[in-house]
């Protein structure tokens, strides 16, 4: 029955967070933004390009053993504005929510201005104010309008 077990692990988690309705192809960026890279030992499952009525194609990410806070998930609105968040306890959905656009994102994006102090070896996180049509570095005023995923801090 190992096949069934595997099926079960992908579709259901006991405790943790399910992020649904991620724009197709953005699942790995979602993991990068959340700083989930598998090194902590949590089970993480990713389903990509699933058929979706609302989005055409969607990705789904399930993180076992970790309940993400609203602050943590709001950052996802930059790349997955339609994402929904389900907090799971003992296989049941105990909380459902959406991502909301934060006013500021910290330590998530890298400033594209190589002469910006936040790109140096200084004890400071990048900080971007979130506007209607882009994000603006609060240190050097550089604006990122397109292709936010390309600016996600690699760590």
């Amino acid at each position: 029955m190992s096949n069934n077990d595997q099926q079960l692990r992908v579709s259901k988690i006991q405790n943790g967070t399910v992020i649904d309705h991620i724009a197709g192809g953005q699942a790995l960026n979602v993991l990068a933004i959340l700083g989930i890279d598998g090194t902590s030992g949590d089970s993480v499952s990713v389903a990509m390009n699933m058929p979706s009525d609302r989005l055409g194609h969607k990705d789904v990410v399930k993180v076992e053993g970790r309940e993400l806070s609203q602050d943590e998930v709001d950052v996802l609105s930059l790349i997955a504005p339609a994402a929904t968040i389900n907090i799971i306890r003992d296989y049941d959905v105990v909380e459902k929510g959406r991502v909301e656009r934060p006013s500021v994102v910290e330590g998530v994006l890298e400033c594209p201005n190589h002469n910006c102090i936040t790109t140096e070896d200084e004890p400071v996180d990048s900080r971007f104010a979130v506007g209607d049509d882009g994000v603006r570095c609060e240190y050097c005023d550089t604006i990122i309008r397109d292709d936010l995923p390309a600016h996600i801090l690699a760590e």
């Binding site: 201005n113 002469n115 102090i117 936040t118 140096e120 200084e122 400071v124 570095c137 240190y139 604006i143």
Partner: protein, 304 residues
């Protein structure tokens, strides 16, 4: 006015600007009254790139208020050379001084540094970013010569890369000036600046020739066009030549036109302009002292 740090001219409201300029005018009118105002104050100068003029201006301002300065010296001779972070440097030096002045080649450096210190910090230029005391002394010079009411100003030269221009243009939106920008097409205001000016409700009028607008101007602010912005020397000469002025050019201007320049100039303003009543660029440079005195006085609690 209550600001712990002066990082950007954008943080200053019309009221803040008037407060600083009023105090500068008081100081210029009676410097003696301020001579002992801050006799126990030590100002720390952290210049991570050379800018002799700005450093001298701050030094003069602090000494004219009765205080003194401590200078980090050149980067080559300091612990920065050994790889110390800026955050560490400012945390050490704030313990020696009552206020800090920082000049640094990277954008955002002053804002970051200010987050690590409790003493007031003044940004004296962060890379291509902000230089608020230059903006304040420009505003002071404009107010003294032309006033802020019904002001028509032309800003000419390299409008693409000049941070002085961007900061001044933004500050002028608070006084409702009519702004005209005169430059070659390749050196027009960047999109982000134009966007900011529109957001602030300012009309942006662009010209490629000074003649189009010169007779209407109360102030002409000239900046340098640098050769390295052009692919070759001959193109630079041809283009830059169209944005140089001399006494003959100014015959078409109003009698009370004020000509400004952040200095140093090269050949964008001919020396024969110096002899005319229009020339205010040396006075503009001198105004840096009372304006910086005013700012330091207000930051150091000169009202108490």
């Amino acid at each position: 006015m209550r600001h712990d740090h002066i990082i950007s001219a954008k943080q200053l409201s019309r009221g803040d600007i008037e407060t600083v300029l009023d105090r500068a005018a008081d100081i210029a009118a009676d410097p003696g009254a301020f001579a002992d105002r801050h006799s126990d104050t030590l100002l720390g100068l952290l210049f991570f790139e050379p800018s002799t003029r700005t450093k001298m201006s701050f030094t003069t301002a602090m000494k004219r208020l009765g205080g003194d300065i401590v200078d980090m010296g050149s980067v080559e001779s300091s612990s920065v050379k050994k790889g110390e972070s800026l955050a560490d440097t400012v945390r050490v030096v704030e313990g020696y001084t009552d206020a800090l002045v920082l000049r640094h080649p990277m954008e955002g450096s002053a804002k970051m540094a200010s987050e690590f210190v409790d003493v007031p910090l003044v940004n004296a230029g962060d890379g291509a970013g902000q230089h608020p005391t230059q903006t304040l002394l420009d505003l002071y010079t404009i107010r003294e010569n032309a006033g802020f009411d019904d002001l028509t100003i032309g800003i000419m030269g390299d409008l693409k890369y000049g941070r002085t221009v961007h900061s001044l243009a933004h500050a002028l939106t608070t006084v409702d000036a009519s702004q005209h920008f005169i430059s070659p097409e390749s050196l027009q205001l960047p999109r982000s600046v134009r966007y900011d000016l529109h957001e602030a409700g300012a009309g942006v009028r662009e010209h490629t020739e000074l003649d189009e607008i010169l007779p209407e101007l109360d102030v002409l602010y000239v900046t340098r066009i640098q050769a390295e912005r052009f692919p070759d020397e001959s193109e630079y000469r041809e283009v830059a030549g169209q944005y140089q002025i001399d006494a003959a050019t100014l015959e078409a201007a109003k009698d009370d036109l004020t000509v400004m320049h952040p200095l140093p100039r090269v050949d964008e303003i001919a020396h024969d302009v110096d002899e005319t009543t229009h020339a205010q660029y040396f006075q503009q440079a001198h105004n840096g002292v009372p304006v910086r005195m005013a700012l330091l006085d207000l930051m150091l609690g000169g009202d108490q």
